[in-house]
């Protein structure tokens, strides 16, 4: 393996890890912290992706806005892109998450296994609603010029990471720090951690556990929406895309360690890096004709092996109050 290949493996690792972390971050809160086995996580990403489609596709929201402005006499040519779609996805999916928590999840906090079935059902409803509204075909996404291609200074080097992937790394870091700051530097973060550690005691001390639950779940759903919005631009958008992400997201959270935000980052980085390096090694040193599939196989074997030795994951929670 020469230095170019090593550099490529490193840049692939950076990109893969950031994608995994972004996809898993919302779940790290709903599943890792709130203990809701949220099978609808992938479908919330899907809702985020479709929100992005509605916002950015010229035939959808921009046309409606232009038409409305035309009615009041303004000749507008509004063209919305991914930068508008990200906050829109956060708000729309966050609101869906809020409704879901208020209408369903709140009755299931002491029955974690039932959340699995309930959220799975909700996920199916979301999928079929989108299927009925937009059809089963893939929908095309358009990237703004500045996120297409590879930055010129990186072209031809081992670190030729496409602009969109660099952007994803940035968004992931932003979300990670945002969540960290919220959880550990703010009063409402303190309340969340208090409610998670001991619900009754927190309530006795005057924390509105209902409010904390709803807002946390809504926020985590919003993060899933953002992930869906961005990954839809990198991969593809279809009504059943959630299934592609939900298994990876659970693997990342479980490997990282439940209840730890650092776990999502650690788990995502471990799987992303491991996968990229194994795939690179297989491509360079073997004549195997499907290195991608084999890399995935090896990484899952490693994850299972690691969890056998250390069931609590990379970053184990030390409190005894759990379970």
């Amino acid at each position: 393996m020469d230095s170019t290949q090593f550099g490529e493996a490193l840049s692939n690792s950076l990109s893969s890890s950031s994608i995994l972390i972004l996809a898993a971050l919302g779940l790290a809160i709903t599943f890792g912290v709130m203990r809701v086995i949220n099978m609808a996580h992938g479908d919330m990403m899907m809702l985020g992706a479709y929100t992005a489609y509605v916002v950015t596709d010229r035939r959808m929201l921009p046309r409606a806005l232009n038409h409305l402005l035309g009615l009041i006499g303004i000749d507008a040519d509004i063209d919305l892109n991914i930068f508008v779609a990200i906050p829109a996805s956060f708000l729309v999916v966050g609101f869906v998450g809020y409704l879901l928590e208020v209408c369903l999840i709140q009755f299931l906090y002491d029955r974690p296994l039932d959340t699995l079935l309930a959220t799975w059902g909700v996920g199916l409803i979301m999928q079929q609603s989108i299927n009925l509204t937009f059809g089963a075909n893939l929908v095309p996404m358009h990237l703004p010029e500045m996120l297409q291609g590879t930055p010129e200074i990186l072209q031809g080097t081992a670190f030729a990471i496409p602009s969109l992937r660099l952007f994803i790394v940035g968004v992931t870091l932003f979300c990670l720090f945002g969540v960290y700051w919220w959880f550990f530097q703010t009063m409402s973060g303190l309340k969340i951690r208090a409610v998670v550690q001991n619900r009754e005691m927190a309530a006795a001390l005057g924390v509105s556990t209902r409010q904390v639950d709803s807002i946390t779940f809504a926020f985590a759903s919003g993060l899933a929406g953002v992930a869906g919005c961005i990954l839809a631009h990198l991969y593809n958008t279809k009504y059943n895309m959630g299934g592609d992400y939900v298994v990876d997201a659970f693997t990342v959270v479980i490997l990282g360690g439940m209840g730890q935000l650092a776990g999502a980052a650690g788990g995502g980085a471990a799987i992303g890096t491991g996968n990229s390096f194994i795939e690179k090694l297989l491509s360079v040193f073997t004549k195997m004709d499907s290195p991608a599939a084999m890399a995935k196989f090896f990484i899952l074997v490693l994850v299972v092996g690691f969890l056998l030795v250390r069931p609590s994951g990379l970053f184990a929670t030390k409190e005894r109050s759990y379970d």
Binding site: T150, Q155, E279, S283, D289, S290, P291, A292
Partner: protein, 436 residues
């Protein structure tokens, strides 16, 4: 209904609840009879039943549903023109749910034994076809299969109305080797990991070897694979002058996106795809795929009166945003092939219809086609298309109709098939092992 009775807080509520439950139970119990009743009523002497066996749910639904649309359009037209032998066609549509090894053979059996259909139009993936094949052979049914495939198969009970390998894969390679196609020498073979791409690449490898060439790489990704970073790096390193893609399904979008992001454009290294048609292009941003190539036997942009009429009828029935592509056109035409064979035979009996397959000729959307009485494949012209801005294709190369051959001799030496000659039938040659 039961829920409704719960809210009735009158003294007799228990009774009402029981009444509702009994009523609902009876109603549910009657449903299957209602269904059978409907079927019986159409089962008169003036109709003939045909089976349609394409997935309406599951992963393949997105590709297979338009084929049902095309077949229904043809059936509607035939019925409007008086039917077949004076009988109206009644389609029995079953949903095999993209479950290739379980529900496909089950539903095939149901269509043949229970519905006693005269013919079945169905399947997309090779694995589903391979799983229903024994059912059709055991019960002497007739299946019309409308999708291009890898060859290396023949059955007296299957009519292949998509391309055989010598009508799509081999002419595509030949064109790329020619001066017109850019005299390309360094082929990068990239496909999804299952029977069609592996057999196709096996044939390409043998064909290139004959010309003294060897592909620079052969690589596979799983169906639905998302992350193409490493593959694109492998491509850069191998420095091919053409990528021959047998990637199927959604992965194509991830692959083209990654290729475009890495700056590999069609004018430098074109991708030639054999499973990307107008329908698949709908989910792609045209800037990412413009200029890349696709090898088929039909394109929507084909400029013939017959095709224009077909596209117009299809869009009038299903919406102006719909597109037609190679498998859709073949699915439409194959209903007519069956009608013509039945009329020549003067009967719906499978053996009699089969004997007349070799006489079938039809003005299909793709051009004048005819069936081969030897191997029940279809004579087809090969076409190479280049992707335009509007997600349609410019046809850059077109051949005269090619006689179909499921066993190209370079790849399957000694194998041949001739059902028209009782003494020949399927002749087995050297055993062939495909895959690594």
């Amino acid at each position: 209904m039961i829920h409704h009775s719960d809210s009735t807080r009158t003294p007799g509520s228990t009774l009402i609840r029981i009444a509702w439950t009994v009523f609902a139970g009876l109603f549910a119990a009657m449903l299957p009879f209602v269904g059978i009743g409907c079927k019986k009523s159409t089962d008169s002497d003036n109709t003939v039943k045909v089976g349609i066996l394409h997935s309406q749910t599951g992963t393949m639904a997105i590709s297979e549903k338009p084929l049902i649309d095309a077949e229904m359009l043809a059936i509607e037209e035939i019925n409007a023109a008086g039917g077949v032998l004076g009988k109206k066609i009644v389609p029995v549509v079953e949903d095999p749910e993209s479950k290739f090894t379980t529900v496909f053979p089950e539903k095939a059996k149901k269509l043949l034994l229970q519905d006693k259909v005269a013919v079945v139009f169905g399947c997309w993936t090779s694995v589903s076809r391979k799983n229903v094949l024994p059912v059709f052979e055991e019960h002497n049914g007739l299946l019309f299969y409308p999708v291009q495939y890898e060859g290396n198969e023949s059955s007296r009970n299957i009519v292949y109305t998509g391309a055989a390998p010598n009508q799509q894969i081999i002419p595509a390679v030949d064109w790329l080797l020619s001066k017109e196609g850019g005299s390309r020498k360094k082929f990068y073979l990239l496909g999804s990991n299952y029977v069609f791409p592996r057999t196709a690449n096996f044939i390409i490898r043998k064909h290139l070897k004959e010309k003294g060439l060897e592909p620079v790489a052969e690589e596979y990704t799983e169906l639905g694979h998302k992350e193409y970073q490493q593959v694109v790096q492998n491509i850069k390193k191998a420095n091919p002058d053409v990528i021959f893609s047998t990637i199927n399904g959604d992965s194509n979008i991830n692959f083209y996106n990654e290729l475009a992001a890495a700056g590999i454009t069609a004018d430098k290294v074109p991708v030639v795809a054999v499973s990307v048609g107008e329908d698949e292009l709908r989910g792609l941003d045209p800037s990412k795929v413009k200029g890349h190539l696709a090898a088929w036997n039909y394109f929507q942009s084909l400029d013939t009166p017959k095709n224009k009429e077909f596209v117009k009828k299809f869009q009038a029935k299903y919406g102006a945003d719909r597109v037609t592509d190679d498998p859709i056109a073949a699915a439409y035409a194959q209903v007519y092939y069956w009608k013509i064979a039945v009329e020549k035979a003067g009967a719906f009996d499978v053996d009699k219809v089969r004997a007349k397959l070799g006489e079938v000729e039809f003005d299909a959307p793709e051009g004048r086609t005819k069936l081969s009485g030897k191997n029940f494949h279809t004579h087809k012209s090969f076409m190479m298309g280049r992707i335009r801005d509007d997600k349609q294709f410019d046809i850059v190369y077109k051949t005269d109709p090619i006689e179909p051959d499921p066993y190209p001799q370079i790849a399957f030496p000694g194998w041949s098939c001739d059902w028209s000659d009782k003494n020949k039938g399927l002749v087995k040659g050297t055993p062939v092992k495909i895959g690594s």
